[in-house]
Amino acid sequence: MEVIYGTWPWYISGFLIGMVMLALLYFGKAFGMSSNLRTLCSIAGAGRFADFFRFDWKAQRWNLAVVFGAMLGGFVAVHFLSNGSGVNLNPITVEQLATMHIEAPEGKLAPDSLMGFEALKNPKTFIILVAGGLLIGFGTRYAGGCTSGHAISGLSNLQLPSLIAVIGFFIGGLIMSHFLLPLIFR
């Protein structure tokens, strides 16, 4: 059953992600994951400090249900649908990672040195994760969407603002990956 337990091919995965977006349209909603961050801030009481969080978050409960399902999906996929044969990177990528002291994946989705429980005790790792999160939260809300809202939903609907945002995603990503990560993980 390597078909299920190994890496799913890009053409199957891409098709299914497109169908997820269309399914949400059929249910009268729009696909976008980063708006849940705003909803969670509102639930936590951020509306007392900024107008931006004073909105009818209860109308967004459907999206929190999508998030809950996605968390379950991640749990099931990692614990019941994987055999450790995945994440076969380009060998050149693996060599480059070694120069940054990052271990080869060997079936893992993320480096233990970044995402593992033990790694969180290292203040440097903790700061990297918080800083990355800050950029993601601030950037997606400023741009009004992330990979799902702009790259998938927006480009599918031929939206120019989404194209500008996606170009921004790649400007930022290329700067980080080529110039900053080698400094951070030196």
Binding site: V20, F53, L134, C146
Partner: protein, 137 residues
């Protein structure tokens, strides 16, 4: 339970993003290094599928499950917010290898680091909410 269909859609999304490894820090790094077609293929096919679906919806006036017409809101016009916000998000995406969907998916899958990224992302969203009116849009 009116939320069950949304949980199911999310469940499929979580499985697909995990099994395609789009939630993987490694795959995001490989993509930004242009050393694999995998991630580009996923995004391209997802957009092509969406594009065909959206065109069909518009041309055939497809109704949603309640029978109401499907209305897709256009994005607000602008430039600064999209290029600046987009670049900031791209920096974070390549740094910790997660966009907002995968943060939750990885958390569900038991990656502790994703919990810290989520805290950072909530804080970043909160800071945006405080500064919104001072920023160029």
């Amino acid at each position: 339970m009116k939320y069950i269909k949304f949980i199911l859609v999310g469940f499929v999304f979580g499985i697909v993003l995990t099994k395609s490894e789009a939630v993987s820090w490694y795959r995001i790094y490989e993509m930004f290094q242009f050393q694999s077609f995998h991630m580009f293929g996923i995004i391209m096919v997802a957009v092509m599928t969406g594009l065909i679906g959206v065109q069909l919806i518009k041309r055939k006036n497809v109704k949603d499950y309640t029978g109401a017409p499907i209305a897709i809101e256009p994005k607000e016009k602008g430039f600064a917010r999209y290029i600046i916000g987009g670049t900031l998000f791209g920096l974070g995406w390549a740094m910790v290898g997660s966009c907002p969907g995968p943060i939750f998916i990885l958390l569900g899958a038991g990656f502790w680091g994703a919990g810290v990224i989520l805290l950072g992302a909530l804080l970043g969203t909160y800071i945006y909410g405080l500064l919104k009116d001072m920023l160029p849009h």
